[in-house]
Symmetry: C2
Subunit: 111 residues, 2 copies
């Protein structure tokens, strides 16, 4: 399927993980776009929500691709597979959802 | 906190919900930006992931705000509260994570 695909990953690191190892894993994720050219966007952050619906997840990472084929190429890319093995060994839980965003136009404000 | 805040909501509708009611709830969410002027972006989609880490969530909605104060104004806005009450009554589970995105620059491709 052609068109933007956003790949959303939420995680909680293992409780006993050192801050150094967390930092290394985040930097490893940040380094993927320079190694895997189908990644057309990447952003991440830590949970700032106030509704207590985070279900224990603490970090969000969003990768952008131009098609499901590019998403598939990312998933099977050697550099992704190496990274994912390290990441999965160090997290307590993970959630991944991919979607083709329907972008809703925002009305211009009148003020 | 000033700066972009993304508000991520994942859900699974109740199994017995009709397609009409799902559609109505999605359209209701899509209508919020026209009623709540602190919403500066809105996009959504259904899960297309292939890794089986979706943890049962089927829909993703991402709202964008200019600050945590605007996010707070959204959460307490009457139109949001009305909508949220209807939505929460019709879903099996929900997950909300907010974050201030760190956008990682993507290298220009050489090809």
């Amino acid at each position: 399927m052609a068109g933007t695909i956003k790949h959303l990953l939420l995680l909680k690191f293992k409780d006993d993980l050192t801050e150094d190892k967390k930092q290394q894993l985040i930097e490893g994720y940040e380094a993927l776009p320079s190694k895997i050219d189908v990644m057309k966007g990447f952003e991440w952050g830590t949970d700032l929500s106030v509704e207590n619906f985070h279900q224990g997840y603490t970090h969000v990472f969003i990768s952008t691709f131009d098609s499901t084929a590019d998403r598939d190429a990312y998933l099977s890319h050697e550099k992704h597979q190496e990274y994912a093995a390290d990441l999965l060994a160090n997290i307590e839980k993970v959630l991944v959802v991919d979607f083709a965003p329907r972008v809703v136009p925002i009305p211009a404000t009148s003020s």
